[in-house]
Amino acid sequence: MDSSVTLTALNALANGLLVAIAPDNLLYAFLGCLLGTAVGVLPGVGPAVTLALLLPLTAKLEPTGAMIMFAGVYYGAMYGGSTTAILLNTPGESGSIVTSLEGNRMARAGRAGPALATAAIGSFVAGLLATAIVALLAPWVVEIALLFGPAEYFALLTLAFVTVTVTLGKDRLKGAGALIAGIATGLVGIDGQTGQPRLAMGIPELFDGIEVTLVAMGLFAIGETLYAAVHEDEEESILQTGPVRMSADDWRRSWPAWLRGTAIGFPFGCIPAGGVEIPTFLSYAVEKRLSKNPEAFGHGAIEGVAGPEAANNAGVTAALVPMLALGLPVSATAAMMLAGFQQYGLQPGPLLFVTQPELVWGLIASLLVGNIVLLALNLPLVGLWVRLLGIPKRWLYAGIVVFAMLGTYGMRQSAFDLWLLLGAGLIGYGMRRSGWPLAPAVIGLILGPLAEGQLRRALAISQGQWSGLTASTISASLLGLALLIALWPILSERFRPRQTAL
């Protein structure tokens, strides 16, 4: 490693920390954590929705403060999601599914306290380690990213599309459908290069395109509300949490799982569209295999909460590497972070590190601060969050509907957008009902226009020669990798020697 790059990174991080612990920024981090947890703890509201719902809150702040508050919201939302997964067995996002397996068993056995504690501390440990690695890794990725031209970016985006389709959701075809529909939605509006309106049907409100946050709120918040109203029944749950304190035995069993979970989660988060579904399941499988008494799994084994929670948080934090360095969101949550940046006209990517270093490093540092604030805030407040779950469902979801409308209207003061929200909500309901993953749609909406722009730029540079797309080694190998992943199911079917157990 080139020590000067690392040194510069550490220096920049120290400066960032100074920005993050300024009293008003600390207050924003604190507020963000508080609100993020309060909203994230609501059933059916995952971290991505929480970010979408709270995005308008930060609209009037200056970028640094807003991003710091956003980081707090993000961690709060993540933790809130785990809380519902454990107490109500309703994971708000795919990353908490595994948490609910053992976590809810523990809660049913009266051990909700230790389950919540190991989730919180595990997330803290993983978040801390992962943020540190992000700080060290991001400048390196930036160095590489600066070598990228339009052709390389287009190849990278193609790879991201393929991996998103393959990894998010269990059905590739449904994932592809969601992704393509998202890309198509992103086409609506004035074409940036020629000034021609596309797919707008002459409706002036559509000339500016369809807001990502609007679609996210429609798909996630309204769609989820519709689904819950139509299909979900009462679920029973445990409201008494018991003591939060972890026993010595809990600690002994948790900490190796936290570290292993972090190690498993981080690499998956870094690769485009690695997602957190695979690493959390992987961590669960590893913990089960390494456990001295695997028969405890399925009856509330604390390792089964500690490992996946750490893997989840490490993966989500690691997703900031491609998000900040390349402008590539690899999860719905990262996509909402990107939408937060775009709100200020900032386009994440290698140049952001150069043009807005205090913002980027302030954000990374505020992740560290947010992590600490969250731990300090949430362990004592578990009882309060649990009580939030006592809000009647009808008021809870009615509030979510009103909040989604407020957030949508607040973006550009247009009642027309509320009709779009309604449409997106209906589509989100249809997708959930048919088992389509939602995240590829949001990612397609964000990355689609980028991919088109880079493709057209690349072809302009190569003077219309399609071979220009594969001219460089980087773009050729990225496209080759994308092709390989896309064809993998067919290839592996062909050359599989025998069925191997996971």
Partner: protein, 203 residues
């Protein structure tokens, strides 16, 4: 989902592929209407939409076939097992309990958002959101707490209780709408239409 294998379930499962196919057709047709830009441009503004629309048209029938096949499989399959082994990774994020879908709930919620869209600029944020909140609340059963065990007595609601619930909905709606108004306009400087309540601080 609910009652797999019935013709109604098949129709519902075909809704998304049909929507995708329809969308693809729309995108492809619209793309043909985009004028090619003058001057030198290897790939014009209509190229990408044409490709994406074509992909939608390609995937939609495949998805429809998948829906039809899983429907056929459900129709002559045994009921899915209730107790899935916990140790195995569950592929479906949220376990969907087979219950009677409350389709009318869809109407209440759509009405809520529609009222919000129609009313926010005509009567103002607070009144429109109060009505939207109350409408949305009607989509959910009474006395349904996210964290409480349902009791059988819920089924026998008298009209008196219904009235009390509605009153409660309004009270919460008014409090919620006003709190949000103050938080966002006075507190955060967001501009929202005041409508009928132009005397409110923050308007």
């Amino acid at each position: 989902m609910s009652a797999p294998g019935t013709p109604r379930a098949l129709l519902a499962d075909l809704a998304m592929p049909i929507a995708l196919g329809g969308g693809g057709l729309f995108v492809v047709l619209q793309a043909q209407g985009i004028a090619a830009a003058g001057g030198y441009s290897p790939v014009g503004p209509s190229f990408f939409p044409t490709v994406i629309g074509a992909l939608m048209l390609l995937i939609a029938p495949l998805l429809a076939f998948g829906a039809w096949r899983s429907h056929a499989a459900h129709a002559n399959a045994v009921q899915p097992q209730i107790g899935e082994p916990i140790g195995e990774p569950i592929s479906e994020p949220i376990a969907t309990a087979v219950t009677t879908p409350r389709t009318h709930a869809l109407g209440w919620l759509l009405a809520a958002v529609a009222i919000g869209a129609l009313g926010i600029e005509r009567v103002g944020f607070v009144p429109a959101m109060i009505v939207a909140f109350v409408l949305a609340a009607q989509a959910f059963p009474r006395h349904s707490t996210t964290g409480s065990v349902a009791t059988n007595s819920d089924a026998t609601n008298t009209s008196g209780r219904r009235g009390r619930t509605l009153l409660g909905d309004f009270a919460v709606a008014i409090t919620f709408a006003l709190t949000t108004w103050f938080l966002f306009t006075v507190g955060l400087g967001l501009r929202l239409p005041a409508g009928w309540l132009s005397a409110l601080p923050g308007a």
